[in-house]
Symmetry: C2
Subunit: 893 residues, 2 copies
């Protein structure tokens, strides 16, 4: 059915590229792979590449994504150009058949394809060109009336579904009715006459639903099909998919029109998919499935069970050998695992698609390491082959596959902390702490707040009813490496009771019934010293892979850690220091809170100082433990940051309970709470504003940090404290706090009879600080960008409130991404770049880092690398992913 491509069209058209036309193939080959995929879609680019290296590809042409974009911009069907018609003519000439020719009609497939793979999101139509006359022609040409009517039936259903939005199930119902009328149990038992009857009834259905008869003119069919493919770019599920995967919404899809080849022409025909390596394990073995006498959609639909590719060898030995040879050639050509679609028509092999094979995290790391060993790729290329998210996945506990599949999904929420966890439901933090002694617990709360820290630490997983990806539960839970599902609106209606077993799938945000078996991460167990490295092949791959990543990156990676346990994990996971140690998290401990409350409700300066002093030995012990853990690595300690009312009770009842518990005056506690209430606490009396109006707190903290550092140094372990002043907006604020620190330092050093090196720096989180970086830098030894607050203030978005509109904003494309998840490079990023440039100008050796949530986000890490920062800091369990993201940023920049 297929002939060689005639070399008759030399001129390369601009909006349509024809496969097999040498000038077009050459033009495409001059593009980079990215450019080719951007212009022709992944599918089109793969076909042109296969054509270029001499693989068997059916003739066809691709309408570029430019055309789709201009179609959407102008809403005009501008693709029916002379160029388009010429491409159709070329295709007819290449195949030797014409569209609509009743004696031997050309049939084509019409497929979408965009720069980034969006599997199943957009539409495809097969067998286009069939009508009441060409169906007869196909019957005549193939001598196979069953085949012809089956093709026509499938075409009407697919066309109706894609072009006119008719439910596929309605066409299925027609087929079922015909089968029942004929007494056929399976499709295969239907006669040609039965299939013909299905065609007639499908046309009736089409007319009824569409309001006009099924179009008989193939050119009209083609116009409608291409339009539908373009429109499918903007269908809601495609838009949602792109948003989820951060694919730009304005790329558009290409459309490839290709001569049909048939895997359903008998026992010498087949269709299938193949992977050059096993996409689940990474094992270097040809892997795939095929169906004899079938079309591609049969494999996808799952009505018949495909057979493993290894069986093809005995069935069609020559086609199998050719396929194996092509598989090897393609993997070598692309130097990566390929995912191929092929069809065998009457013994002849055609390649319909090749693309980079998606693979599991487990497979990805094995393939990357193996391919370096095989000399196929360089270590740098290997580093690009695993996404930071995949690496993160390898560090998480996972449910046993079977158990997870059997488990009942009770509800869904947002996947805020990946991993798998099971435990008994606890509704309060106290309960969680108490129950955790007896076994694993899941903390279930409407939402969490700083009081819940102990309970969160004790729990295996955290489930909340409200809050988004940056809510307290999400941020703090993620930071602790906990499995976390937030914003589960259905929670109330589940009727959970304390003590019930529950499982959380933090990868997908699923809430599962009962206790689902899970396994810890093998790599993490080795890293944390719970399993010997020698016994884990996976760990050895990880180790090699991370060594390449570390060699490639320029950004250092630190961790945000508030406790010795956090610090321990941070070191184990490869952090080269602590970038943010929040001292106030230490204030919530049951031994500290009464002292903190006493400090807040103090009625005189003397009373306040006394309460502050009571905190001193506790804080010093905290810092000493952290310094001892970090053994001389830098530790950035932030002085007190949150507004004082965060430590106070929220209701009169809570005040009474707290007062009784801690032996305080309930009336004073509650009246202080009311007094300290703020209209906009985010912009309130917090950060260095506290340290300036209550200098005793800063003095005490500086003394605790530096005394601990002296003691750590005396014990031989060393300490490199960096004291960080939060919420600075004016250089004068920083100067004031720095002076307090310096005075405390001199006193401490005198007392200990030794000095330790320390630095004093500032967070850059108030826009004014970024705008006046040139004034602050001469005073500050380091800047640490607090991109959470910087985003809040630069965009005017309260992280606690933006949930009211951010969803609509993303839907309406007002925003491309959640600015708290991925840094707003245009607005917030401009402030960062400005502060970097002007800070460095004022102090060339200024240390620059970032300690906001963005420090763990790959896209943001790319930005920070490009902006020239020295380090990022993120939660300990994000450290490996951040190291990888930093390496990828360095390689890409």
């Amino acid at each position: 059915m297929i002939s060689a491509w005639p070399r008759m069209f030399a001129r390369a058209p601009r909006t349509v590229y024809s496969l097999g036309v040498p000038a077009d193939v050459r033009a495409v080959s001059r593009l980079s792979r990215d450019e080719a995929r951007a212009l022709l879609g992944g599918k089109g680019a793969g076909l042109f590449e296969m054509s270029r290296i001499g693989l068997p590809v059916p003739p066809g042409f691709t309408v570029t994504t430019d055309v789709c974009r201009s179609y959407h911009a102008r809403k005009a069907e501008s693709f029916l150009t002379p160029e388009f018609h010429a491409a159709v003519a070329r295709l007819e000439a290449a195949v030797g058949r014409r569209l609509g020719d009743p004696r031997g009609p050309l049939l084509v497939s019409v497929r979408s394809g965009s720069k980034f793979s969006m599997p199943g999101m957009m539409d495809t139509i097969l067998n286009l060109g069939l009508n009441d006359r060409t169906a007869l022609g196909l019957q005549f040409q193939t001598g196979n009336p069953r085949f012809a009517w089956d093709c026509y039936r499938r075409f009407i259903a697919m066309f109706g579904a894609v072009v006119n939005g008719i439910d596929k199930a309605e066409f299925e119902a027609v087929l079922t009715k015909v089968k029942s009328d004929c007494g056929a149990r399976t499709d295969a038992q239907l006669s040609a006459e039965g299939l013909r009857r299905a065609v007639v009834l499908s046309q009736d259905l089409y007319k009824e639903r569409a309001g006009f008869p099924f179009p008989q003119k193939p050119v009209e069919q083609l116009r409608l099909a291409v339009t539908a493919v373009f429109d499918s770019w903007n269908n809601p599920r495609a838009c949602a998919y792109r948003r989820l995967h951060r694919i730009p919404q304005d790329l558009g899809t290409a459309c490839t029109v290709q001569a049909m080849v048939f895997g359903n022409m008998g026992a010498d025909s087949a269709t299938g998919v193949g992977f050059t390596r096993d996409p689940g394990t990474g094992e270097p073995a040809f892997y795939g499935e095929f169906l004899v006498n079938a079309q591609g959609e049969d494999v996808v639909a799952g009505a018949r069970t495909p057979r493993p590719l290894s069986e093809l060898e005995s069935h069609m030995p020559s086609a199998y050998r050719r396929l194996l040879e092509i598989s090897g050639k393609l993997e070598r050509h692309y130097a990566d695992v390929q995912d191929m679609e092929f069809t065998i028509e009457k013994g002849r092999l055609f390649m319909l698609q090749t693309r980079t094979g998606k693979r599991s995290a487990m497979a990805a790391i094995r393939i990357a390491v193996d391919m370096v060993a095989e000399g196929l790729i360089t270590p740098e290329q290997a580093v690009m082959r695993l996404s930071p998210e995949q690496l993160d996945e390898l560090l998480r506990p996972v449910f046993d596959e079977g158990a997870s599949a059997r488990a009942k999904v009770l509800a869904r929420g947002l996947p805020a902390g990946p991993g798998a966890a099971s435990g008994k439901v606890c509704f309060t933090s106290e309960r969680a702490v108490a129950e955790a002694v007896h076994g694993p617990v899941i903390l279930v709360r409407p939402e969490t707040n700083p009081d819940d820290i102990q309970g969160m630490a004790a729990a295996q997983g955290i489930l909340t009813a409200t809050g988004g990806m940056t809510s307290h539960a999400a941020v703090v839970g993620r930071g602790m490496g906990k499995v976390c599902v937030v914003g589960c609106g259905e929670l109330e209606s589940l009727g959970l009771k304390e003590g019930d077993w529950l499982s959380l799938d933090g990868f997908k945000g699923r809430v599962l019934e009962g206790r689902v078996e899970a396994q810890p991460s093998e790599i993490l167990e080795v890293l944390l010293g719970k399993r010997p490295a020698e016994k884990s092949e996976l760990y050895r791959r990880y180790e090699r892979f991370m060594a390449w990543a570390d060699a490639a990156r320029r950004l250092q990676v630190r961790a945000n850690a508030d406790t010795p346990a956090d610090a321990e994990a941070a070191r184990a996971l490869g952090a080269c220091g602590i970038g943010l140690c929040r001292t106030e998290h230490m204030f919530f401990g049951p031994d500290r809170l009464p002292k903190v409350l006493a400090m807040i409700i103090a009625e005189s300066e003397a009373e306040r100082l006394e309460a502050v002093e009571a905190l001193y030995p506790l804080q010093k012990a905290d810092f000493l433990a952290i310094f001892n853990t970090m053994r001389g690595l830098p530790v950035t300690v932030r002085t007190i940051d949150p507004p004082l009312h965060e430590f106070l009770p929220r209701t009169r009842e809570e005040a009474e309970r707290a007062a009784a518990l801690h032996g305080l005056d309930a009336g004073r506690l509650w009246s202080k709470t009311l007094e300290l209430k703020e209209a906009n606490p985010m912009l309130g009396h917090r950060g260095c504003r506290l340290g300036i109006t209550f200098p005793g707190i800063t003095r005490m903290q500086a003394r605790a940090i530096l005394s601990a550092a002296c003691e750590a140094a005396a014990e031989g372990g060393g300490a490199a404290p960096e004291i960080m002043i939060p919420l600075v907006g004016h250089a004068s604020e920083f100067r004031h706090q720095k002076r307090l620190v310096a005075e405390a330092a001199e006193a401490v050093f005198r007392e200990h009879g030794r000095r330790v090196d320390y630095q004093v720096g500032t967070m850059i989180e108030v826009p004014r600080a970024a705008l006046t970086a040139g004034e602050i830098a001469p005073e500050a030894e380091f800047f640490s960008f607090g991109t959470n607050d910087l985003t809040q203030m630069t965009l005017g978005y309260s992280r606690d409130d933006y949930g009211r509109y951010i969803g609509r904003y993303l839907e309406m494309k007002i925003l491309d991404a959640d600015p708290f998840r991925s840094l707003d490079a245009t607005g917030v990023g401009r402030l960062v770049r400005l502060a970097v440039a002007e800070g460095r100008r004022a102090r060339p050796d200024l240390k620059l880092g970032v300690c906001g949530e963005h420090g763990g986000d790959p896209a943001s890490i790319r930005f920070f690398h490009d902006a020239g920062l020295g380090y990022v800091s993120c939660s300990p369990y994000r450290v490996p992913a951040a190291r990888l993201a930093a390496a990828q940023a360095a390689i890409l920049s």
Copy 2:
């Protein structure tokens, strides 16, 4: 006693300048007047200038402010340099006497003096050089033992007070005791012996209080005196004065050491002060007071009643004629009113000081206009002679002087709205509205909120217990031109009852008992058409003065006005348009609030649209009235801005009352209130975020604005609406809202069969908007800087909460000024300049203005002028002051 200055020292020293040394006088004369005052203080500069033009000035020298600054920086008494000693030697040579010479001692005065006049804030010491031996010398030299011992007694007291901080009253007590011991009733009755006894007892007191004997060495006296003068720069009252008058804290004071001349050497001696014109009325007549046989401090102390200068003519005709001649010469020389101090020693006149005379607002405008008529100054110079605050004062009602002096001051608060008001106390807005029908009322509230608008409008004055200069009461009250005293902490304790008469002095923040008579501003009465212009000489001066100001300025001045009454006032006061019309202020009217509440609690989109539609005719009528008032001048209307919960009740009880009143469901109202509550409303769901998520509101408002504009145009008055979108951070937000407006416009124009010109622009109030001005400007026809919110977000200061630390910040010099009062030019200003530059680059004809509170602040207006904005917009009653500030900015730049 005084000889000509010997021309023996030619080299001009760097840290000390000697009066009468030609090289020094020449060096000073090469400086600009500002530079001279900065270097030598106002007093020093005046002395050098008088010396230069040949007026009689006692010899002396001035230690520069540089020395004071380096003294404070290094805390070293570095002024005792060889230069200093040389200057002392020159002074001794010039006078022909030496410090400490027992036979004819040199006595000097040591005076402070800084660039900006700070009357009475810093210290002065007279008669320095006296000790137990030189007192005898002085007695011998003058032949007047009473005089000598009186000088010595005064010197010890002054020195003790200034250098050692001993209470002056203690020295007074010594004198009183001596008088009583001697049976003397007045100082004059004391014998020389009595005065000598006072010296001895004063020395005893000194020793007891200071802990060491009174220093006898004149050089030591001099060192201590200069040190004390330098230290007095930083005394608390001087710091507070500078903060209040926005004088930089780091200028330092100069110190002038000058040979004493004595007005207390008998009946042929005198001392006094003179003004070249009357500083109260501006009348062009020599004005002042003198005392015979007295030292300067006697005039200040008020123990004796000085006589009017006119009487000097008969007393000392030749000295008077010389003084009159000097007065004219000085006024002509400086081309401004001079305030002079002089002393006549045995018939010989010495000038001790000349400086620009302070004057009342009334005098200032008369002097400015008169001096132009006299050809002394140009109109541009005249424009610089009245501060915007003084101009503002001329537009306010004032208390009758006598009545005000007699009235009892009950309490003090912050002067948030200038003027004088009396009325009956009302504790609620409802009550104020009801009572205002019967007579003037004062609204007294803990604090005000938007519900109080009606009551505030009805009241003559507003008094609140809490809140600062930018609280709701202050901002809105000022905007309405109301007399306003806020933050009156003592309010609770006054025991006020409803119906009590109360008076408010909004100039000084005083709360006065009872009904104090006040008069309306004469100028304002003419402007508002309540008094004929012909009958007011004051108005005619105002008119001429403002014409000069308007000719000089480049910035246009608009007004913020939400009602036709505001708009009327704005026009009368010279606004060339409305820069901010807040549509939501219209939402609080009693006929609107139920509809607004219905809109908010709507449970379906249809229900919401219905409620929104019900607001349409009301909003349209509002806009029509404003357009008709403004007769074609531009009116910038801002679409809805505040978060919806601002319209909702604050408590469950309020919700029940409101629901009953407006026929709504109380439960729904309250649950919606809870639902809409935000953690940080300032950064919440407001501004265009509302317009985007509830597009119906924007559509309705655009329709109302443009329909009203069409009707105004049809009625012949014209309308130039500018629709302003608030809280834009992303260009995409603006595009969305602009599209809604454009669609509404087309529909309205079709309906009315006519088009009107309109513009759509944006507020720049989110830092990101400023940072991406280049992306927004291609879409927006104008930018209006909302500097209140821009300040809140750029500095991270919540205006509702910053009161917790701003006081300390100003005290501690962390900040120089309240950033909500005067624009933070460094931080916020940088964003403004950046947005101006990048906005203009993207759209050269971009209209640029400012509509925040800063639009009425002179220092900020100067910044906006320099930044190249086109207009400022402020409250109607600030318009004349803003016009003047704009003119002064243009002249100064």
